[in-house]
């Protein structure tokens, strides 16, 4: 890093066609920036992101031999990549570029205070200059990738992931902890919307897996160890006989699925004869019984109680506050199946809200046409199920009848249970991927990076990530395959170099940073006649959990060093509004 006073920094202030300059005096901001030590070029542009403005900036970088650039414009979420690429085209290291947000976090937020907005923008620009003056060139960390993948879970999502990876020419190790492939779908009968039988769907996928030479299926096997990095993970499997299998894989797809919610004893009468769950009904109907019999009793009427184990109050301690998505459609569908078996069976749906989204609305309409009756109950007054003289009695206050109590005497009560996460504690410890408050594995970004985890090269698919129906599970599986394929087939991957770094001269090895690191990225190494901490940049995610625990301030994240952050604080305080 060069001395900040000898830096040659350029500053571009964007007007954003008035979005900024209507409230911020951009010329005044430019003028203030031009007096900062190390700043040798300043510009105001109508649109800094336009081709012409980028060409101006590139020319300025080259002609004035700039070694850092600050663009004051919109949110980095929009144009960080744009301006990093611009810097690179000009021959400037992209990590010597700082984007300062004077639109979303300044001009747009202070439209009634132009003077304040201008002063704030000036402070933000000064902080950006201070940060850039202490920046250093960084290079992406390039690592090789192996064209082999590990898929955990051989349910529909895992099977489909394995086949699609195989199609790309990637060798797959497909690992299933139980003694058979197929997951939950294996036990189900007709699946919506096309009435394909679950067991047949699974059987066709398993048969295809068996035909692929580049897929190895391991049943009764678990992942017990993972080390290494994206592109070259070292993993160890353990079979049910205790055998250990070491493997090297480039990517890991987690498709470990869900568990159906099991009602607590007496929850909506669960435990009484004739009170069953939706998966139990689906399993029973897979045999297509005629007449409709359950537990030796002929079924002439069914009451479905929706949202059992889903959408529960956040304070009930279960964490099942989410909607399980699939159950409304699955129940509408199962009632059409019942109707097909025996149209004279009366069906009552006790629901809170019907969420048969998209094309699944047709299932709801089909259930209605089949004669199903829908009664809406409120969360504050759930239905009561009891047994009376050997018969089931269900009482519900129907909101659509103004809260009037309705009493039903069905032969079967079906609790429409949602999805809950599996006990993934051991797997979470091995993979070091985060779990959300709902207990399911968590993606990096729900919209923009929906199947990636914070651990590069580890992807989550299907219901391991949260409730999904089969179609949605397969969509996420194929999304993860495309991400893994892009990663593995290129042969290398570039990692963000903004990771933690230890100053060995300051470090006294107290072990606090290793304890704080969630990724096992810090090692103990010899340095001269002492031992110090050293960060493995390939494993480090750059979140900085190690930073506040270091008593010597020996560790910081590149791009956010102590020196950079404190210089920004000082610059902002100096210009404080």
């Amino acid at each position: 890093m060069t001395d900040e006073k000898s830096r040659r920094i350029g500053v571009v202030v964007c007007q954003c066609g008035g979005n900024i300059s209507d409230y911020v005096d951009t010329e005044k901001v430019r003028e203030a920036a031009s007096h900062e030590p190390g700043v040798v070029s300043t510009q105001v542009q109508m649109f800094a992101c336009s081709d012409a403005a980028q060409q101006d900036a590139i020319r300025e970088i080259r002609e004035k031999k700039l070694d850092g650039i600050v663009v004051c414009s919109c949110s980095p979420k929009l144009h960080l990549a744009t301006f990093r690429a611009m810097a690179e085209r000009a021959g400037l290291n992209p990590y010597e570029y700082t984007q300062v947000n004077i639109r979303e976090q300044c001009s747009w937020a202070h439209t009634h205070d132009p003077a304040g907005a201008t002063a704030k923008a000036t402070g933000l620009v000064m902080a950006g200059i201070a940060r850039t003056a202490r920046s250093q060139p960084l290079e992406p960390i390039r690592v090789e990738t192996l064209p082999q993948a590990l898929v955990l879970g051989a349910g529909v999502a895992g099977l489909r992931s394995a086949l699609a990876l195989s199609d790309l020419g990637i060798s797959v190790h497909l690992v299933e902890s139980s003694d058979h492939a197929g997951g939950q779908v294996m036990r189900w009968g007709d699946l919506f919307p096309h009435d394909k039988v679950g067991a047949e769907l699974v059987a066709s996928l398993v048969a295809e897996v068996g035909r692929r030479e580049n897929i190895q299926l391991y049943l009764g096997t678990e992942l017990v160890e993972k080390s290494g990095r994206v592109g070259a993970f070292s993993v160890r499997l353990r079979t049910f006989t205790g055998d250990q299998i070491p493997l090297k894989v480039g990517a890991i797809v987690v498709a470990t699925g869900f568990e159906p919610y099991t009602p607590k004893p007496d929850e909506f009468g669960y435990g009484l004869p004739g009170v069953i769950t939706l998966p139990e009904l689906k399993e029973a109907l897979a045999r297509r019984p005629k007449p409709l019999v359950y537990g030796g009793r002929e079924i002439r009427s069914i009451a479905y109680i929706y949202c059992v184990g889903s959408r529960q109050s956040a304070d009930d301690g279960t964490g099942h506050a989410y909607c399980s998505r699939y159950c409304c459609s699955a129940t509408s569908h199962i009632s059409t199946v019942v109707n097909g078996l025996d149209a004279s069976v009366k069906q009552y749906h006790l629901f809170r809200d019907v969420r048969t989204y998209g094309k699944y609305e047709a299932l709801y309409e089909s259930a209605l046409r089949g004669g199903s009756l829908f009664l809406r109950y409120g969360e504050e007054a759930p239905p009561v199920v009891r047994s009376q003289d050997g018969a089931l009695v269900v009482q519900v206050k129907d909101r659509l009848l103004g809260g009037e109590e309705v009493e039903l005497r069905p032969d079967l009560v079906v609790l429409v249970t949602g999805m809950v996460p599996r006990d993934n504690a051991a797997l979470t410890r091995v993979l070091k991927i985060p779990v959300g408050q709902d207990g399911f594995f968590r993606e990096v970004h729900v919209k923009l990076r929906p199947v990636e985890t914070v651990v590069d090269g580890v992807f989550i698919v299907g219901t391991a990530q949260g409730p999904k129906n089969v179609a949605e599970s397969v969509q996420s599986a194929l999304a993860a395959v495309s991400k893994a394929g892009a990663l593995l087939l290129k042969g290398y991957v570039d990692l963000d170099p903004q990771v933690a770094k230890v100053d060995p001269n300051l470090c006294v090895w107290c072990d606090e940073c290793t304890k704080a690191c969630p990724y096992g990225a810090i090692d103990r190494v010899a340095y001269g006649d002492k031992e110090v901490a050293e960060v493995n940049p390939i494993l480090c995610k750059g979140e900085g959990a190690c930073v506040p625990v270091c008593p010597k301030q020996a560790v910081s994240v590149l791009g956010y060093t102590h020196e950079q952050v404190t210089s920004m604080i000082d610059a902002l305080a100096k210009e404080a509004v």
Partner: protein
């Protein structure tokens, strides 16, 4: 007021406040970091010493994609920073933390107004 926000989550909530033209004081200035669990307590003391009335940590909260116990970790940063402030003769109430999610535009603005008012009343001379 100085706000520490996070690149992946709270920054987006603060951006959304601006995109929605929700007004808050121009004296609120933001430094973005990767994760709120990586904020050094000394930075907070530095900001107060440099002249900021208060520091607000717009934390990742339970949405954090880096560490599942981000709330606890950031809580420890806050506790340590408050101890540092008190040791240096500053009111610990000059540091506040709340989780700001990627769509928490209104909660962010509400926090800024509330914290701004609290700081103003704390620094106002006693009357009567």
């Amino acid at each position: 007021m100085l706000v520490f926000s996070t690149n992946a989550i709270s920054d987006m909530g603060i951006d959304l406040a601006g995109s929605s033209h929700l007004d808050y004081a121009a004296s609120v200035e933001v430094i973005s970091v990767p994760c709120s669990s990586g904020i050094h307590p000394e930075w907070i003391l530095r900001a107060i010493r440099a002249g900021f009335d208060g520091v607000f940590i717009a934390a990742d909260g339970p949405e954090c994609s880096y560490v599942s116990d981000c709330v606890e970790r950031t809580g420890r940063v806050v506790a340590e920073a408050q101890a540092l402030l008190e040791k240096s003769g500053y009111d610990a109430g000059r540091l506040k933390m709340a989780a700001i999610c990627s769509v928490c535009a209104e909660p962010f603005v509400h926090h800024m107004r509330q914290f701004g008012d609290a700081l103003a009343s704390a620094s106002a001379p006693a009357v009567g």
